[in-house]
């Protein structure tokens, strides 16, 4: 029951604080820009009539993936920044003390905060992704394949970073924690490109470096897997777009990411349980 109380408190906090408003404004601006761009491109291509049906489908699929990629980046940022000070900030200000002396487990404070922030993050991503898909469906009458498999993978990517951000806050200061979470994300991002280029060049060592980076932080690999799900196999096999990974992560990466979330959360609970408040 106390997990629910803390989760509700966290939702309440997110709604009252400006950070979510800022994220929503950024999201709305992105959708407006995306819609406008799509509208202009479609208008131009229909006037010229220079795309055949297959080219048009490929173009629209790539445009959808570009929109979802931007949505996933905004979600990752929100996933890291929204809870980055939820534990560290309340520990250093002393706000956490009156909560922690109540007859609730410390574990429930961490789990409640995680659940509250996770709910906000899911809502935010679904709003952005829903916006992209609605714009695409309304303006171009196009829906990419594999959404039901792809979107949960992007949510898992956000969940991984959200959990790292919350767990880190149980031990680190707010700034260090933010640096660590974004540092890990950057590492996975670069690692993934090393992997893609290494695969294309047939360089096994580069590919392994990328895989190692994805194991340290599975965020970007999950996006690659999600993107490969949300495009037709022909596009994927041709590697015809920036969102067509040459080296597609296996489903074992999903299991790894799931275990990663559980382990990070367990570590956060352990750190917070031992922390002097």
């Amino acid at each position: 029951m106390s997990i629910g109380t803390i989760a509700r408190l966290t939702l309440h906090e997110a709604l009252r604080r400006r950070i979510l408003t800022a994220a929503l404004i950024a999201g709305a601006a992105f959708l407006a820009l995306y819609g406008l761009g799509l509208h202009l491109i479609l208008k131009e291509s229909s006037t010229r009539g220079n795309m055949n049906l297959i080219e048009r489908r490929i173009f629209l699929n790539v445009m959808t993936l570009a929109g979802l990629y931007a949505a996933s980046l905004l979600t990752v940022m929100t996933a890291v920044l929204l809870p980055v000070d939820t534990l560290s900030g309340e520990i250093s200000s002393g706000v956490i003390q009156t909560l922690a002396v109540r007859p609730i487990r410390r574990r429930d404070i961490v789990l409640g905060k995680w659940l509250g922030h996770w709910t906000v993050m899911c809502g935010y991503f679904l709003l952005l992704a829903g916006g992209v898909l609605t714009l695409m469906s309304t303006l171009a009458h196009f829906t990419p394949p594999g959404i039901a498999r792809g979107l949960p993978l992007v949510l898992l990517e956000g969940t991984v970073l959200l959990t790292v951000s919350i767990a880190g806050g149980a031990r680190l200061s707010t700034v260090t924690n933010g640096m660590l979470a974004f540092g890990l994300f950057g590492l996975a991002f670069i690692g993934n490109w090393v992997e893609q280029i290494g695969t294309m060049a047939g360089n096994e060592a580069a590919r392994q470096v990328g895989t190692a980076a994805s194991l340290i932080m599975p965020g970007e690999a999950l996006w690659q897997l999600a993107a490969s799900q949300m495009q037709p196999s022909i596009l994927r096999d041709l590697g015809a777009s920036p969102f067509s990974p040459v080296s597609v992560p296996t489903t074992a990466m999903v299991v790894w990411a799931g275990a990663y979330v559980v382990a990070a959360l367990a570590l956060g609970i352990r750190w917070f349980g031992r922390r002097a408040l």
């Binding site: 309440h12 009252r16 604080r17 922690a100 002396v101 109540r102 007859p103 609730i104 002097a276």
Partner: protein, 315 residues
Amino acid sequence: MTENVIETHGLRKQFGAKTAVENLSLAVRRGEVFGFLGPNGAGKTTAIKMLLALVAPTAGTGRVLGAPLGHRGTRARLGFLPEHFRFQDWLTGRELLHLHARLLGLSAIEGRTRADTLLARVDLLDAADRLIRTYSKGMMQRVGLAQALLGDPEVVFLDEPTSGLDPLGRFLVRDVIRALRDRGTTVFLNSHLLGEVEATCSRVVFVKEGRVIHDMRVGEATGGFEVGIRSGTLTGEARTAIARLGRVLDDGASSPADSGDSRASLRIAVEVEDRIPEIARTLVERGIPVYEIRVQRKSLETWFLDVMGEDQRPG
């Protein structure tokens, strides 16, 4: 024998190389208003945090309300006002109390009723629906007190509840503590404001460098008295007789001798009140005229300085 609601044995807390609390052994009885006194940095806040399980002791044991430190069920019977009164400032005062009511497991109706009663008690009904971030320091303290009392606790921990507050805020704390005492609630008060402790506490301990160095009841004869005497010239024998009754603080040697005044003045500290008539008798039996006997209870401030020693520097 009165039940001990707080007991600790050799509690110690080490943060890296720094020892915050050295060796804390305490017993607080039910219904006591217990003053925990010491200079800044003496380990008072760390001690309270160990009792509330916010900080795990490095060594030693303790029990609060008969249960080991941090026992979850027992925490529902405790109230706590932390130092600096920091709360979720994006909530309104009323929302904060409702949150704590839920965490205490109170029903929604009971939570609302108690919150309203306490908001009225701390004079915050007008501001109950304003965000806490708009509150003055005094209002934060008041909503904090309401939060601490919400669960109708058996033991209330107040950590520097009046620091930085105006006299009205201090009076409110005094009032609340007296009301708690009258109901038999135990109060554990951390403070370095000696006047406040003197006005409210029934027992105080002095802490220095994380150790209890003195334990005394307030307002009882054990607290000691200072007796100032003005009399005719004292013979050597009379001085010796008086010195046997207490500790001579000032034998008047520094008073002007060339004023032609044959009177003597003397200050003496005695432990029990019965010594005072004995001093008077000693003088009268020897035919020495007595002009004045002033009796002053030894103030907590004097105690504090005596107990802490002259080497104590501001913390």
